[in-house]
């Protein structure tokens, strides 16, 4: 059959479009089915959800603390990588390459079983220290049993993300036009003022979207702390699901845990996309 070389008029409507309407129907049915699935396990939800929410709050708390520390590591790393002194630069490069080249799980194990044990042999134990400090404040019941795992877990997470943020900050600072620095210097600002008033405000703007993205992946990677025995969302989910004998209930709890992670992370990724779009528009 000869195909017409030039199509005149509008394109013929594809019959596959009909499937769209079928799809909407299926989607409605699927959503309803998922709702019914949740509803049919409402006894499990009322039983476990409060604890899961508590654990989710802990996940968020640990992630925020880790992110703050990661920013500090990242700033130190970025200053190191932009330093005038070659050894400092090399050190920062080794930090970034080694951390980014190895799995975060191995790093967490290294912090907890390697560094943690070595330090405890030297007499430093985060749990005892925190316990004594909190005893002095008459609140030692607040210190969780697995505090050492919390401590090294948070350090491991932030050390890891510090390396990624190092690169984010460095590229943020480097993309600010060199001409601006020169203009600022020739206007009589010293290098510290240039950094503070010219480069950093613009660099921070650029780094906000990748920063948000890394925060999302940090929340997800905080699930790895469960391996160290930190009682966060993943660990709680597993510890609830494990003793259940009914496989469907077991699966349901895992789905519930995943759903909570989704509820935490998805709005953040929408926010990241919004920020990205806004920052791409401005200037």
């Amino acid at each position: 059959m000869q195909r017409p070389l030039i199509q005149t008029g509008s394109r013929p409507r594809n019959w596959l479009v009909i499937l769209d309407y079928v799809f909407y129907l299926v989607l409605i049915v699927a959503v309803a089915a998922f709702g019914y699935y949740l509803y049919s396990y409402s006894d499990i939800i009322t039983l476990y959800l409060p604890f899961l929410l508590e654990a989710a709050a802990l996940t968020i708390g640990l992630s925020v603390v880790s992110m703050v520390l990661a920013v500090i590591f990242g700033f130190i790393g970025a200053t190191g990588r932009l330093s005038r002194f070659a050894p400092v630069r090399w050190l920062a490069t080794v930090y970034v390459e080694v951390v980014r080249g190895t799995p975060i799980l191995v790093q967490l194990l290294l912090w907890y079983y390697g560094v943690g044990q070595a330090l405890s042999m030297l007499g430093f134990d985060p749990y005892n220290t925190a316990f004594q400090v909190m005893t002095a404040l008459q609140n030692n019941s607040l210190v969780p049993d697995a505090f050492s795992a919390y401590f090294y877990g948070v350090i491991g997470l932030s050390f890891n993300y510090g390396a990624y943020l190092t690169e984010v900050f460095r590229s943020g600072i480097e993309t600010i036009n060199k001409g601006q620095t020169e203009a600022a210097l020739s206007l009589g600002l010293n290098s510290r003022q240039t950094m503070r008033h010219i480069v950093l405000p613009q660099a921070i703007r650029i780094t906000i979207p990748p920063f948000t993205n890394y925060f999302i992946t940090l929340i997800q990677d905080s699930a790895l702390l469960s391996v160290l025995g930190v009682v966060e969302l993943e660990q709680t989910t597993g510890s609830f699901a494990d003793p259940l004998l009914d496989p469907n209930k077991k699966l349901f709890i895992y789905i519930l845990g995943a759903l909570l992670y989704f509820v935490i992370c998805y709005p953040l990724s929408l926010l990241a996309r919004y920020l990205e779009a806004r920052i791409a528009v401005a200037y």
């Binding site: 790895l224 993943e234 990724s269």
Partner: protein, 221 residues
Amino acid sequence: MNLILQNLPDFLIGARNTLIYCAASFPFALLIGLMLALMKSSRFTWLNTPAKIFIEVVRSTPIITQLFLVYYGLGAVLANYDLAYLLNAWVAGIAVLALNYAAYEAEVFRAGFLSVERGQTEAALSLGLTSGQNFFRIVLPQAVPLMIPPFVNDFIYMLKDSAIVSVISGTELTSVLRLAVFRHPSNTFPFFALALVLYLLLSLPTSYIARFFERRLRAAL
């Protein structure tokens, strides 16, 4: 040193298994990712919405959660129907890695397709190529070189993320490491050093290849 030499064979087997995990999952990830990308850029809602939902859900949940869900949750349900033989650490690990990375590769594919100018598609169509010919002969050949560096990058990420399989008693490098650490709890640093070096050996050459391709690509453009 003696300790390292004693355990080196086990670690090498672990590193090999890590590579096997990734080499097995990555083609699947690419294939499913390509499918997802094509679905997502379709104009039909019944194709693009499922892809979008899948991508968003996978990207918004931790990979370890997905692994637990598949291995313990789904595994329990399968065992209930006497189908437990379908799922072991290998199958679950490879499936989760492949599905998880498919969501990321889909975005890479899409970005690659979008980077080929729309005018070329229009030119191809007006020259009488069908949309299938246009895709396979015009768009894809130009998009593939652009996509190679992000693919290599994602492969490196996968090498590292495959460490997660150790939580479901896989047999890759991190599992070997954890076993060794539990056997010799008083002297763990040599094992960590060995594992870190092996991971770096796996990932650094790959990243150099990626950089090489990137440089060649920049020279070509």
